[in-house]
Amino acid sequence: MEVMLVLKAVAALGGLGLVFGSLLEVTSRKFAVEVDPRVSLLLAVLPGANCGACGLPGCEAAAEAIASGKIPIDSCVAGGQETLEAVARVMGVEVTTLIEPFRAFIRCGGGRGKVSLRFLYDGVADCVIAEKTTHGDLACSYGCLGLGSCVKSCPFDALSIGENHLPVVNWAKCTGCGICVSICPRKIISLVPEKAQIGVACNSKDKGPVVRKICQVGCIACNACVKVCESGAITLVDNLAIIDYKKCTFCGKCIEKCPTKCIVLL
């Protein structure tokens, strides 16, 4: 009896599957749409992470747009030079430009461990929500909340929460797509050239004494790095040292000079 039931079930479901499968097969042949063969080739060489850094929803849309010439062949930010060359091979054109690869850099060295807290935040563990509802529990209104919205957003799995609840960028995995930059509610993450070796790990636009009071590793706008820099690459903007990577020679003198050690080796 039970065996019959099983056989019946198998026959019924198998029959249904067969009928619908063949129906789909017939319609897909009858209603076949001609597609550009390059689209599938392009789709194979694109990273496939659907990060959206090119401005289109996903790699499939990007492949179609590249094949039809709507966007230039170097549109894939995440893929870098390698992908550009592969795309150019598919499209049959010469590569003339060189893409300078970028990497994400966390401009905060303090975080939960080194900055005092205003109160105990017990809400949803998400930076965007924490910032929207309570403006964060950190005393520093520019510092990293460390709840990992960027980690969750990274399509390439390059970010992780490390020491002091600060996110750590895995430079080997990071492609510079910029998704985390747009996710971070405090705009702490910035894209720096891959060759950069020095960065200012602070985002605070507060005045020096204010920073000193709440954080031991913040930029206090003391001007020491600006003076010591021989190539004039560092400027103070809104009480914060900014490095111009076009001028920086990565000599490292500012790292030694910085009293709060907020200029770091990457």
């Binding site: 079930a9 019924a12 789909l24 319609t27 749409v33």
Partner: protein, 206 residues
């Protein structure tokens, strides 16, 4: 009750009194996901209407002529109905891609979403087992009644998602407190709409 009146009541009950989105809270993902613009919600409504009607009639036939006579319906209906719905969505996608590329691009992502849309499965299941959600299987729909029922459910879905998207378009411009911006105010709006639809409860005696 005359036959025509009965069909009319089945239709109204499915569309308004037992509205699938606002009264029974089934199929909420497209309700919140696709309703930010009127055009996309109209597209989604058309797609759901088509799939729901086709799927319900196919499921009714399969239930009444295959599963039930064999005595295997009770444990196999969800699997086979999902099979039917998935195939139909695939079918619809292929056909629309060929016949109307603009419509395909407009609905693009939402079509595959219907495959796993619980509203479609609920409508198909209720077409063959009326009232199974309320745990009383007292009556039985004929084929025509099942089709009218599923059209009612689908049109109720379309009506509500279009009304909702027009409200959402206006809320975009309204000075909503920053904490409520986005999804929270959308949920509150949906709750108020649901409250309004409760008023249909006392209208018809089916």
């Amino acid at each position: 009750m005359s036959e025509l009146l009965r069909l009319f009541l089945i239709f109204l009950t499915a569309a308004l009194v037992q509205n699938i989105l606002l009264i029974r809270f089934i199929g909420l993902c497209p309700f919140f996901g696709v309703s930010s613009k009127v055009e996309t919600s109209i597209g989604m409504g058309i797609a759901v209407t088509f799939v729901m009607t086709m799927a319900s009639s196919a499921c009714w036939l399969i239930w009444n002529y295959l599963l039930n006579p064999l005595g295997i319906g009770e444990f196999l209906y969800i699997v086979s109905f999902i099979l039917v719905i998935a195939s139909l969505v695939q079918f619809e996608e292929i056909v629309i891609k060929k016949i109307s590329p603009p419509l395909y691009r407009a609905m693009g992502i939402y079509l595959p979403l219907i495959t796993t849309n619980c509203a479609v499965l609920a409508a198909a299941t209720e077409g063959v087992k009326p009232g199974f959600l309320k745990l009383n299987v007292a009556f039985h729909y004929s084929f025509i009644e099942a089709i009218i029922f599923s059209i009612g459910v689908a049109l109720g879905f379309t009506l509500v998602i279009i009304i909702f998207s027009t409200i959402r378009e206006r809320i975009e411009l309204a000075p909503v407190p920053s904490i409520f911006k986005g999804i929270p105010i959308t949920f509150i709006t949906a709750a108020l709409m649901s409250l309004a639809f409760m008023a249909f409860y006392g209208l018809f005696g089916l």
